[in-house]
Amino acid sequence: MDEIRNVIEINNLTKDYGDFKLDNISFSVPEGSVCGFIGQNGAGKTTTINLLLDIIRRDSGEIKLFGESVDSNSAALRENIGVVFDEMGFHEFMTAKDLNIMMKNIYRNWDEKKFFEYLKKFSLPSKKKCGSFSRGMRMKLQIAVALSHNAKMLVMDEPTSGLDPIVRNEMINIFREFVLEEDHTIFLSSHITGDLEKIADEVVFIDGGKIVLTGNKDEILESHGILKCKKDEVEKVSSSLVVGCEMSSFGAEILVNDKASAEKLYPDMVVEPAALEQIMIYYVNAGKR
């Protein structure tokens, strides 16, 4: 059986800004997967992506893309990466046609035909200045650029934030289409966990510059659960299982990290499946405490 190749490998990565530190993080993303990079605003998602693309200089640690260190040849490695940022970054006076002229002189594998096909598919005008585009159109334009140079990996920083559900759904379908090719990978940061639940295979959860949780999304969802009990029963629950607890007037809700064990140990209590968003909230609150 072929060994699964990691397209992203990050080991002990550190970046210290003084008031914020990305603290010794490590994770990997297998080829052909959709990896959701989740965390609240300011958790370190954008910093990690900027480090990954070698846009900012790291303090220490190692980053490998497609098995190669970014130190040796980051520019050439970026030829295979399509990037979508939370803000467009293209000049507002530029039209999609201008972007085509610029990009075809930058990317070796730029596919002009494909770019205009995407513009058509996304209903984007080619002669209109992109400064007049709505947020959804701007994101689509970035995606069209990212998909038009035969990239093997898409790295996206909050591509769906601030978009209405219809456009978000449209974009998720585009991402799904992209990963139909088995060597195509998506690394997608978002705090909208609902979107990631729909498409992600892997999840990396970052909080306060530290990796809190990483692994297969289904396994994470399967292993975690919300245990519902009375307030006076909270003490009975083994602390090794408890990630966080929230009290309400109706009782207590505890996020447990081993749903199967909790069900076995506390058959009288109800253990419900946890959503990615709940898992994120409980971990963040637990970290604050």
Partner: protein, 259 residues
């Protein structure tokens, strides 16, 4: 890299319009100058001044050259606002996009230099065409003299742009452009004073002396130097440009995301 140069030139689109107007203006003034120098008031005035011994023929000639140069430098000035590209990039947040492109930092920096110099080259080319016509139609200056002066002016613009780029890379962020421009001009002035320190001292002494009967000779000296020693200006420009590029790359690599 070519793509980034295209983008830079697109950023300078607004400037290009000014450039076009300047070119048209320069062409019109050149034609008027030639006509006047051959058949009009300029030729009459020149003859009269020389006959009345108000000014020497050399003075008249040099004055005409200075007048010509003033508008011949305009195409350079029109494209010399390299800061415009930086400001446009800043406004769009393009540095992040550039960082994600398959281009190394040295290439990204080089593209900025090349796009500015490409526009300067267009200005120089236009001036050479005008100079050829003027040297052919008038006897103000030989073609070689014109080329010397154009080369000197081009060198100064290269020095100015190179310094502005390096200062702008060193001072990223919105609204820092003016500082880069002021620093460039101050550096150029300081450099000039340093090179011509003895001459300047001599000049100040002359001004202070009681029997100060200085003519326009000093100015003509500079004009002669620009005509005959353009290669010195060119050498200085190349050196400044190379040093500026090396420093810009070092800063851009260290800071990242500034270009």
């Amino acid at each position: 890299m070519k793509g980034l140069m295209i983008k830079d030139i697109m950023c300078l689109k607004k400037q290009l319009m000014v450039f076009c107007y300047v070119i048209i203006g320069v062409l019109i003034v050149s034609v008027m100058f030639v006509l006047s120098a051959r058949f009009g008031n300029l030729s009459v005035a020149a003859r009269q001044m020389a006959a009345e011994n108000n000014m020497s023929v050399l003075d008249v000639n040099n004055l005409a050259t200075l007048a010509l140069l003033t508008f011949m430098f305009l195409p350079f000035a029109a494209v010399g606002d390299v800061l415009f590209v930086f400001e446009e990039d800043n406004k769009a947040g393009f540095a992040k996009v550039a960082g994600a492109l398959p281009l190394s930092v040295p290439k990204r920096v080089l593209s900025r230099y090349l796009s500015v110099f490409a526009l300067l080259a267009i200005g120089a080319l236009l001036d050479i065409v005008i100079a050829f016509a003027l040297s052919f139609l008038t006897d103000i200056l030989s073609f070689a003299g014109f080329v010397g002066i154009i080369l000197s002016a081009l060198s100064m613009m290269i020095i100015y742009c190179s310094l502005t780029i390096v200062f702008r890379v060193a001072m990223p962020g919105a609204g820092k452009g003016q500082y880069a421009q002021i620093l460039s001009l101050l550096t150029m002035a300081a450099g000039f004073i340093l090179i011509r320190f003895e001459k300047i001292k001599e000049l100040i002494a002359q001004v202070k002396s009681e029997n100060n009967n200085m003519g326009p000779e000093r100015l003509w000296d500079l004009l002669t130097a620009m005509k005959e020693k353009a290669w010195i200006f060119a050498l200085i420009a190349i050196t400044v440009m190379l040093v500026s590029y090396a420093v810009s790359v070092t800063i851009a690599q260290r800071k990242r995301g500034v270009i």
